[in-house]
């Protein structure tokens, strides 16, 4: 046992000096920072995608643009954010902007008032933008507002980051012939252009979206949705249906999502959804941890064999002690990495909001309230690691170099892909047949049980699946020891499967 400890200690101390170890340690903090910072940074960056419209109807484009403006203005009035400088220099005009917005919010508190103001402001703004004009004298609040909006798009974006023009920019080429727009598309000056038919009221036939990029459908969906609403509105007006009756007819039924926790009912929020999906992220993390650390073990075993050290070691310790020492030493390394990830996770989710000066895009703190997740992660990391470590240590002992090891690894890698494939289906139905069956197949048990943590099965399932894993690990280690004892001293090409079976039979 002392020899096992010595070998494990050496493995651990040597591994923590490697570059790979420190790269692994930094992996998690970097991922958390990227996950948190990228959405924040993206929200402040301006999207360059441009689009054009050939409007044969003569009125739909104007109506759509007014609609976009109206929605943006309404959103601004609803928002509680104040304009921010966003890096530009402070001016007295900035103060005036803040006061103007506040005045508007005070004045238009009622929904209908807001809608009316938004509609009027949108009309005025549309005219200003069409004629590239500006208002010289601004006697009314409406004109002051329109003038401010027209001149300060960056300040508008600082209040409503997802304003319509933050996503896509409408361009109006001097020549809107099809040939001309196609040249712009080929030159990638446009993401796409829309063709609106002459009489969309009668039929949508002839409407098209022309693009070279079929993977990004967001622009198409966003613009087509707006056109549909505008055309529907016009159809309603033409049928002389009262606008409020039309609104009522079109009003969808919104189901409120209520989550049941034990006997408590609570309206589900974003953090509840995150909590439900978090086990899937943990499965992925578990997979990365087990895959990375067992790979480390495999590489280490093959290197030791190719370094011609094995025979010297085996003259001091048994093959079994050597293998056990290796597995434990690298388990220690793995636990250090995983432990550091968890600590980094806690530190960063507490510290990042103040660092980024913005709340995190996901309420990660809610995960801390779920000890089952972290406990499951640690337990299934240990069980999963030991199970796969046995196989990889055995296989590694048969190989003289990493290339041979990669070939022999193929079946294990194929098995390891399965938990990734079923990760989302199990996440959607943690109590379903797939989840239940996978929980009882030892190579998949750690991943499936982690996957099910959002709707955990009963304690019996936890107990017996853990017992199953312990028994499986025992047999996997026994088999691996037999292979390791013979394989570690073998030279020449790796044995065939039949020879490996013969090794297993050797007493």
């Amino acid at each position: 046992m002392f020899s096992v400890f010595l070998i494990a200690q050496r493995e651990y101390l040597e591994n923590i000096k490697t570059r790979g170890f420190w790269v692994s340690i930094l992996f998690m903090p970097i991922i958390i920072v990227i996950m948190s910072a990228v959405p924040v940074l993206l929200s402040t960056s301006v999207n360059e995608a441009k689009y054009a419209v050939i409007d044969h109807s003569g009125w739909v484009l104007a109506a759509v643009q007014k609609r976009f403006l109206k929605n943006d203005i309404h959103q601004l009035l609803e928002s509680e954010t104040v304009p921010s400088l966003n890096g530009s220099e402070y001016t007295e005009e900035f103060d005036e902007s803040v006061i103007l917005i506040e005045q508007l919010r005070q004045q238009f508190k009622e929904g209908e008032e807001k809608k009316l103001f938004a509609s009027q402001a949108a009309d005025l703004l549309y005219t200003l933008s069409r004629e590239n004009a500006s208002i010289l004298q601004t006697p009314t609040l409406l004109e002051q507002f329109a003038d401010w909006w027209h001149k300060n798009p960056q300040q508008v974006l600082s209040i409503i980051p997802n304003a319509s023009f933050s996503h896509y920019q409408y361009v109006e080429p001097a020549d809107t012939s099809t040939a001309r727009l196609q040249i712009l598309l080929n030159a990638e000056h446009l993401l796409g252009y829309f063709v609106i038919p002459e009489d969309p009221i009668a039929s949508g036939e002839g409407a098209s979206y022309v693009t070279k990029n079929l993977t990004n459908r967001d622009l198409q969906l966003w613009f087509a949705n707006a056109v549909s609403s505008v055309v529907q509105g016009q159809r309603i007006r033409e049928e002389s249906i009262e606008p409020n009756i039309a609104d009522w007819i079109q009003q969808p039924i919104a189901f409120e999502t209520v989550v049941l926790n034990g006997e408590d009912l609570a309206v589900a929020n974003a953090s509840d959804t995150l909590t439900q999906w978090a086990p899937v992220a943990f499965v992925y993390l578990l997979w990365i941890s087990i895959f990375t650390i067992t790979q480390m073990l495999l590489t280490n075993t093959v290197e030791e064999k190719s370094n011609k050290l094995v025979e010297i070691l085996l003259s001091s310790v048994s093959a079994r002690e050597l293998m056990a020492g290796k597995i434990l030493g690298i388990a220690g390394t793995g636990l250090t990495i995983v432990g550091s990830w968890l600590i980094a996770f806690l530190i960063l989710i507490l510290g990042l909001p103040s660092l980024l000066d913005s709340p995190l895009p996901f309420d990660l703190l809610s995960l801390v309230d779920k000890p089952l997740y972290l406990a499951s992660f640690i337990l299934y990391f240990i069980l999963g690691y030991l199970f796969y470590a046995a196989f990889l240590c055995g296989l590694g002992s048969l190989c003289n170099n990493l290339k041979e090891a990669q070939n022999l690894m193929m079946p294990v890698q194929l098995i390891l892909i399965v938990p990734l494939l079923v990760m989302i289906p199990i996440g959607k139905d943690p109590g379903g047949t797939l989840a239940t069956v996978m929980s009882w197949i030892p190579p998949f048990t750690p991943f499936a049980m982690m996957n099910r943590a959002a709707m955990p099965p009963g304690p019996g399932t936890y107990f017996f699946t853990t017992l199953l894993m312990i028994i499986s690990i025992y047999f996997a280690l026994r088999m691996a020891t037999r292979i390791f004892e013979t394989g570690i001293l073998m030279t020449g090409k790796p044995p065939k499967l039949t020879q490996i079976f013969r090794m297993l039979k050797t007493k």
């Binding site: 010595l6 011609k308 010297i312 070691l313 001091s316 001293l489």
Partner: protein, 303 residues
């Protein structure tokens, strides 16, 4: 108490369908330097691994230092295998201490002894360097230190001189001789017959897993032909055309000739004097090199 360090009785070892060791009987006395010779693939490594407790025999018995299970007495054994490696990233002193600790030495004793041996082998100034900084020869010395640090009663050294310069060969040779003086047993495996000839008290020659020859050098040589040693200048190809010569081992300016029965040295000298400038002409016992070749070739031709 047995006077034998190692005793093999009817030992067999199989690998898959190959018989690596075939009914081998060996007796190695304590306190001697024992040459363990054989061609490549003869079964030397397999039998050495059984002596050091790395492998177990499939049949027969192996008794090492009075123990029939050598894996139980690994702390009393030292093994320097032919293929040697180091943990490249480890510090030299740490590596020696690590191997000593694996042999159950206390940390304090291991450190003291490691420093002493590093000094003796002129490596103390590099004690804190990484192993990867050592040349092949210095790495070899380090491995010898790691093999001997726990003062094993039985040491197996497989090609201990490979990669060493003459000064270090002398250093290692003296170390091996001092082990013998201290009544430790040394099993010395090599393909360089001159080294075995100079250092070994007894020898064993195995081929295809079987014993071919064993005993002290005089015992092995008895009944063998005498050889001629010729140091010469000129075209040595003439040596191969001489009548009455069984075999020629020509090194360019130095040749060893094995005479056929009935051929006299005088006849050969007469033939050579006119054709080569002879600087030395001497008769001597058959070299171990020749014995090795004769025995192995003879055994192979009988198969």
């Amino acid at each position: 108490m047995s006077s034998l360090a190692v005793k093999f009785s009817g030992v067999y070892k199989y690998f898959d369908q190959i018989t690596a060791v075939d009914n081998l009987d060996i007796e190695i006395p304590k306190g001697c330097i024992y040459g363990y010779l054989g061609p490549n693939g003869a079964g030397k490594t397999s039998s050495i691994r059984m002596i050091t407790g790395i492998l177990k025999p499939d049949a027969g018995s192996v008794c090492v230092l009075g123990n029939t299970n050598p894996s139980k007495i690994k702390n009393r054994l030292g093994y320097l295998p032919e293929e040697k490696g180091l943990y490249k990233k480890m510090r030299i002193l740490d590596l020696v201490i690590y191997f000593a600790r694996l042999k159950k030495m206390s940390r304090q004793d291991a450190r003291l002894k490691a420093l002493q041996l590093l000094e003796q082998f002129e490596l103390s100034d590099r004690a804190n360097n990484k192993c990867e900084s050592l040349s092949k020869g210095l790495g070899q010395k380090l491995q010898i230190i790691a093999t001997l640090i726990h003062q094993p009663e039985l040491v197996v050294l497989d090609e201990p001189f490979s990669g060493l310069d003459p000064v270090n060969v002398e250093l290692v040779r003296n170390t091996i001789l001092s082990l013998k003086q201290n009544n430790h047993t040394v099993i010395f495996s090599t393909h360089v017959m001159e080294q075995a000839e100079q250092i070994c008290d007894s020898l064993l020659l195995i081929n295809k897993g079987k014993k071919l020859l064993s005993g002290t050098l005089p015992e092995i040589r008895s009944g063998m032909d005498h050889n001629l040693i010729v140091d010469y200048d000129g075209d040595g190809s003439i040596l191969h055309t001489l009548p009455g010569i069984e075999r020629v081992r020509d090194a360019g300016k130095h040749a060893e000739l094995t005479l056929k029965p009935g051929t006299s040295a005088q006849d050969i000298l007469k033939l050579l004097v006119d054709k080569l400038t002879i600087r030395r002409f001497d008769t001597r016992e058959t070299s171990l090199h020749n014995i090795f070749i004769q025995a192995v070739k003879g055994a192979n031709s009988n198969v």
